[in-house]
Amino acid sequence: MIFLRLILVNLLRHKIRTFISIAGIAFSVAAMITVVTVLQGAVGMFSSILSSGSEMIVFERNVSDLFFSDVPQAAKNSIATWPMVSHADAVLFGVVSSADHPIITCFGVTAEDARIRNATWVSGNADPFANGGNLVVLGERAAEFLGASTGMDVPIGHGTFHVIGVIRTRNGFEDGGVFMPLEAAQKFFHKEGSSVITIKLHNKEDAPAFKAQVHTQFPNLIALEDAEFSRSYSQFKILKATAWAVGGCGLALGGLGVANTMIMSVFTRIREIAILRVNGFANGQIAATIFGESAIVAITGALAGLALGAIALYALKEVPALHGYVDVTIHPALMLIVVLLALLTGLAGALYPAAYAMRIKPVEALRFE
């Protein structure tokens, strides 16, 4: 108890300094939580686009981005007839632009696609979609920023399309996207095939056999289960690495703040540390008081950072332009990792101060102060 008091007394003795240090860690943790959660949410949303109503995805082997993947129509037609396959949907991804919006994601899909079949229709309906032609279904947010509604013609890229309906989804990409009949999209993007084929199997346990058959019959294509794809897709990896790198830099800055605080803490109480030595405190016990201080700062900062991060995410969710893009769910594992990282950063920041404290010679400290 007195050991804890020794730690707390020193933190409370310099309240402003302690507060600044905690704030440094808190902002770092909040930044990390926000960036990682937003990017993980974005990755999750993109994954959910791919996995909409399916379990597997087939795409061109060795492409750096799915936008560049080209899966022949013949492959789709063949795969759809395999006994283990319940359903196969060709999806073409493209990027289109309008006057004020240089990037709008475009989905070329068939009328049987789950996005169209299971959509919540704000206006219009799916019936005309099967007829094909220059028509589009708009995500609710896309309709909003394009200023379009059902029945209107909207200029997209170098063409004009008739809006047959507006759908509401929980996915930010889809909500801000444009859905075209597959043939229209192929024509628009000058492609004969599709970007991916999403696959639903009769039996999930057939996945290995399905992958093997794709590898045998279509060596230029690769089949991955949805979770497997999310883990291995290079774009996702880059996004996740970026998020952790940005968050890590923030945390490192917070750690430097803790190190600065702890150095000041040790320098301003050399005499007190000498007193502890004279009273029988071993090096380990002296170091424990220093590490204890930094651990309290780091954990308090981390908890405050989690709260700040959650507030920031809820605030971002309410920004109209980000509607549907921000997933405010902070995974418990992420919370644990961030708190542990903050703790490790705090302890690392206390290494030098602790080493310095252990070298203090009581006879000199008590004689000259």
Partner: protein, 231 residues
């Protein structure tokens, strides 16, 4: 070599042999071959002018510093060689300084319990010992008070309590009354002497106050880093 006048039967607790201490590569010489023996329960006053080496001698005996040459044996074991210094500091020696060297933000109770915390003494035993010491030093009513609230004499009595917390065999006091007025000095000194005797502690006290020194079992006069007389 100085010898205790009162008894050859009582065991020697401290034996310092040919102690030298110098600083700045030998250019400043503080102790020049000090020999000293102190017996169990003996109270010894170290007198002498400022800079004669009293404090340095106490530091060497207490293990706070190392001699340039010579050795200190406590209960026949050499400091820095045969002894675990952490154990020595925790259990065998207590310090009282001129400036009380208490931690101002802690209470009197917490300051006194520091050696017990360091030694890992069970809480009940530590509190019982504290009650006993607080009773004897008349500080029981001050246990929960912060150090800033205590008078100079109370602070020094607190420092004595702390020094005796782990029942050390040796108590080293460096000008313990140097910052107190005459009346308080006398009170604190008598308390120190009384506690040392009743707990059979070997007391080495550096002091300028001849009248206080005279109350000790022996008085050692130091000059130029040597013990000149033993009376």
């Amino acid at each position: 070599m100085t010898m205790p006048p009162q008894s050859d039967q009582v065991p020697v607790v401290i034996r310092a042999s040919r102690l030298w201490k110098s600083y700045d590569e030998g250019t400043i010489s503080v102790l020049n071959g000090v020999d000293l023996e102190a017996h169990k329960g003996e109270a010894i006053a170290l007198c002498g002018p400022s800079g004669c080496g009293k404090s340095t001698l106490l530091h060497l005996i207490g293990g706070l510093d190392k001699p340039t040459r010579g050795k200190v044996l406590v209960n026949d074991k050499e400091l820095g060689r045969d002894r675990d210094m952490v154990h020595f500091m925790r259990h065998e020696v207590g310090f009282v300084f001129q400036l009380h060297n208490l931690i101002p933000d802690l209470t009197m109770e917490e300051n006194c319990l520091l050696p017990a915390v360091a030694a890992g003494t069970p809480n009940a035993a530590a509190l019982s010992r504290l009650q006993e010491l607080a009773e004897r030093t008349g500080l029981r009513h001050r246990l929960k008070h912060r150090i800033q609230k205590l008078s100079g004499g109370e602070r020094q009595r607190t420092a004595i309590c702390r020094a005796l917390m782990n029942r050390p065999g040796i108590l080293l006091a460096d000008e313990p009354t140097g910052s107190l007025d005459e009346e308080t000095s006398s009170t604190v000194f008598n308390l120190l002497l009384d506690l040392a005797h009743t707990e059979s502690v070997t007391l080495l006290m550096a002091t300028h106050d001849r009248s206080l020194a005279a109350a000790c079992d022996r008085v050692l006069e130091m000059h130029d880093g040597r013990i000149r007389t033993d009376c």
